[in-house]
């Protein structure tokens, strides 16, 4: 007998970037750097007669998590689809450079469609800078944890930045990918990818699949509390980035490619992982899924 569904107070998926930060870190501990009152908006959107947002869709600052000092960045996925423009990107660059200097761990709350087209060159370059600053921070000993569960997913350059993080925490709704379904469909045809088939989109790029193939380290419910617990756990682990890490990642990615080279669909991959009723995976609750996912490809801290 099922009972009435009672949602938690804040859905991560639905929440704004500011709500997510507030609900994630220790209450009242967040201090924003270059906040909306400074009105550092995009200098490029006016050219397209598009509205600006005072924080350009990126909120950065410091906070404490379980009492420990950390740095936090959050993308607002509803403003321009969370896309990375000049100011948006520069804020994260600055934060990651500070992480290197200060030796502080960083949380990146992803919610992005990738590069912002109206300032594509600035966004593309910013993503390269973010990746470099992230890698340098990690080489200096900082952990950088990516949280993926927003409306806009983690696409394009966002997917590449996520791939540089020391650990990723995802929800079922969270999607991680480079090329979005619509772009694949536009370039290669609907036979290659039917972008309107949402079940296909999620089983190809969604959180469950990413977790199962070792593309993410923790799979959590769509709530700030679940993210918080998982983040605290992975922050206890190593985040070091050195040649050994990358050798291990090389082996991990080679293994994945060898094992699933011929798999045509996520369901085939899940089956070959040893999941009996693979087609039922998307319908499973978090708890049931995690129990089943013990057979997943491990991420081995190798990223």
């Amino acid at each position: 007998m099922s009972t009435v569904f009672e949602p938690e107070a804040l859905s991560w998926y639905e929440g704004s970037a500011r709500q997510r930060i507030a609900a994630l870190v220790d209450p009242g501990s967040f201090r924003e750097a270059v906040g909306p009152e400074e009105r550092e908006t995009s200098p490029h959107l006016a050219l397209f007669d598009l509205p600006e947002q005072f924080d350009d869709g990126m909120i950065v600052g410091r906070a404490t998590l379980d009492g420990a000092r950390i740095l936090v960045a959050a993308q607002e996925g509803r403003f321009m689809g969370g896309a990375v423009g000049e100011v948006h990107g520069a804020k994260l660059v600055g934060l990651l450079r500070a992480a290197k200097a200060l030796g502080l761990d960083v949380l990146i709350l992803f919610d992005t469609g990738g590069v912002r087209l109206q300032e594509a060159n600035a966004g593309e370059t910013a993503i390269a800078e973010i990746m470099r600053a992230l890698v340098e921070a990690r080489c200096a000993g900082a952990r950088v944890v990516g949280l993926v569960g927003g409306r806009s997913g983690c696409y394009g350059g966002g997917g590449l930045i996520a791939g540089c993080c020391s650990a990723l925490v995802v929800t079922e709704q969270g999607r991680i990918s480079v090329t979005g379904p619509e772009v694949i469909e536009t370039n290669r045809g609907v036979e290659e990818f039917d972008a309107r088939d949402r079940a296909l989109v999620w089983r190809t790029m969604g959180g469950k699949h990413r977790y199962l193939i070792g593309g993410a380290d923790r799979f959590v419910d769509d709530s700030p509390g679940a993210f918080r617990n998982a983040v605290c756990e992975v922050l206890k682990g190593p985040g070091r980035l050195d040649l050994e890490t990358l050798d291990a990642e090389q082996a991990r990615l080679e293994g994945r490619l060898a094992r699933f080279r011929t798999a045509g669909d996520a369901v085939a991959i899940w089956s070959s992982l040893g999941i009996d009723d693979a087609p039922a995976v998307p319908g499973l609750s978090t708890r049931a899924f995690r129990a089943l996912a013990v057979c997943r490809e491990n991420a081995d801290d190798a990223r």
Partner: protein, 548 residues
């Protein structure tokens, strides 16, 4: 001497012509176009089954392929103009006249074709009205229908989406018309007999299910705070005081919000068992949380809804189900139920004028009516009393002695004062009037007439038109809830204030509702996934609604 059986002879001739393409009653899909060419006659009245949900899509596509040199000037009498092929037949000259009810997905194209003179329009009906005319002056000579399966004798299983089929077959087959059914598969024995085989003359196996549109699935993720506020107003300001137990909901997001607030906000108000127990309603996924929480006693359905079949089958105490365990829907009966046995209809519209007339027609889009004008009207033939009906009657006709006083069905229009793209809901003049002039129609396509509307709910409050004593009060009551639209800004502030004192207009604060409490966390489900979880995994949403 007069031959009294010309129609029987005509049907026999059609059957004989069709038989050359058939083995028994079974026609191969590959032969469908020449088959239709053989059984149809120019000028036939044809019912091509299709409403806002199920579609005889295989037959529709085949009909659009017949040779217009042979088959032309058909008179289409059908519920829905939904598939592109429904209009292709007019474009190609196969059909000429049209009497119909609903054209949502083809609203723009049908408008262009009506303006272009490619369609000779009889009338836009409400479903029940069109069904009624099937038995009087629009009886089909040929019906092209859809079912899930058939046996070789033509017994049909229509499954959960029975919808219009029994009505169409009744009118056609018993008046010597020809019935052709497309079925997903031909089986030895159908799970239940929805249409007896002696009413069906030919069957064609499509090899796939007929098309069904998930029209009644509303993603809770898209419900706005303002819609939640209007839903709170409706529950606390209308459902509770009138004690609405028997009702019908439209398909908009405002009413979806009401459904999702019942187990949360409604529960907090202690209304379970007091309101919303008996429904004429499609199997709305958004009602799942309320059903699971024990709010709903029973629901009769016009049609089914994609993905809801297993859930329905597992809740037979709530839904009408057949011997096979699956839903039995019936649009004609459910429309009748909505008209006569419900005390409230609540739905949304695109435009409303100062008399309360509403319409979903805009100059570029003619969406038709579907069931709304039937649901959204006061049945003058009703004779049984109920508390809400009597209370509304007393408000409307206070000076009439109670034993001679009609009750009133509550007909509620709910919506935000501005729609998509900041288009105002309230207008000086309905676009429907411009359309009527342009097409030279004797009647403007008004969905719900002002004199049937009893209440208007917007984010600004509730206007109770039953309490208005003259046209001026009525106009100001409407202006008084029209928000920041031009209609709203041009209100007579003094008169509106007096109407509010009399309770004709009630603001959120008058009902103890703080608009800032209208939060999405009040929704019993905030996503389609929540609905699937609430159903215990029985509701299986179609792919386009999933984000998992």
């Amino acid at each position: 001497m007069r031959d009294w059986a010309t129609q029987k002879a005509a049907r026999a001739a059609r059957i004989a012509a069709g038989a050359s393409f058939a083995r028994g009653k079974v026609v191969q899909a590959a032969d469908l176009v020449p088959f239709l060419g053989a059984v149809l006659r120019p000028g036939d009245r044809v019912c091509l089954e299709g409403d806002n949900q199920k579609q005889a899509d295989l037959l529709a596509d085949a009909l659009a392929e017949v040779d217009p040199g042979v088959i032309h000037d058909l008179h289409m009498v059908q519920s829905g103009i939904v598939l592109p092929s429904h209009l292709d037949v007019f474009e190609k000259g196969i059909a000429r006249r049209l009497d119909y009810s609903y054209s949502g997905p083809q609203a723009a194209r049908i408008a262009r074709m009506l303006y272009g003179g490619q369609i000779a329009l009889g009338a836009v009906h409400t479903y029940l009205e069109l069904f009624a005319r099937y038995f009087i002056d629009l009886t089909p000579q040929v019906a092209l229908i859809a079912a899930v399966s058939a046996d070789r004798d033509g017994n049909l299983y229509t499954g959960p989406n029975t919808e219009d089929t029994p009505t169409v077959v009744e009118a056609t087959s018993f008046k010597d018309g020809l019935v052709v059914a497309q079925v997903g598969e031909i089986v030895d024995r159908v799970p239940r007999v929805d249409i007896p085989g002696d009413r069906v003359h030919f069957v064609v196996e499509a090899g796939r299910p007929f098309h069904v549109e998930p029209l009644f699935t509303r993603d809770p993720g898209a419900i706005t705070e303002t819609q939640i506020l209007t839903a709170m107003l409706a529950i606390k300001g209308l459902y509770a005081p009138y004690g609405i137990r028997r009702l019908n909901h439209g398909i908009g997001f405002n009413t979806a919000a009401i459904e999702l607030l019942l187990p949360t906000y409604g529960e907090k108000l202690g209304l379970r068992g007091q309101i919303c127990t008996h429904w004429a309603l499609n199997p709305h996924p958004t009602l799942i949380p309320a059903i699971e929480a024990g709010w709903v006693e029973q629901i009769h359905c016009f049609g089914s809804e994609v993905g809801m079949d297993d859930y329905i089958a597992a809740r037979p105490d709530v839904y009408f189900t057949g011997a096979d365990g699956s839903l039995r829907s019936n649009r004609a009966f459910c429309q009748t139920a909505g008209l006569y046995a419900c005390d409230l209809f609540i739905g949304s519209t695109l435009q409303m004028d100062l008399s309360g007339h509403s319409s979903t027609v805009t100059t570029n889009r003619i969406a038709g009516f579907g069931g709304a004008p039937n649901m959204g009207s006061d049945p003058r033939g009703r004779r049984h009393p109920s508390e809400p009906w009597l209370k509304a009657g007393a408000e409307a006709y206070p000076s009439t002695p109670a034993p001679l006083r009609r009750g009133r069905k509550l007909v509620v229009q709910i919506g935000e004062t501005f729609g998509d793209g900041n288009v105002p809901l309230f207008v000086e003049r309905l676009d429907a009037l411009a359309l009527a002039e342009k097409l030279d129609l004797p009647l403007a396509p008004v969905m719900v007439y002002g004199d049937d509307v009893t209440h208007i709910v917007t984010e600004e409050g509730i206007a109770n038109l039953l309490l208005c004593r003259d046209a001026d009060e009525r106009e100001q009551a409407i202006r008084g809830v029209a928000g920041y639209t031009e209609i709203g800004r041009r209100r007579d502030a003094g008169l509106v204030a007096r109407l509010r004192e009399r309770g004709v207009i009630r603001r959120p604060e008058d009902l103890g509702i703080d608009p800032l409490d209208a939060d999405r966390s009040l929704l019993a489900a905030r996503s389609i996934k929540d609905l699937a979880l609430a159903s215990g995994g029985l509701y299986r949403p179609p792919s386009q609604f999933r984000n998992w």
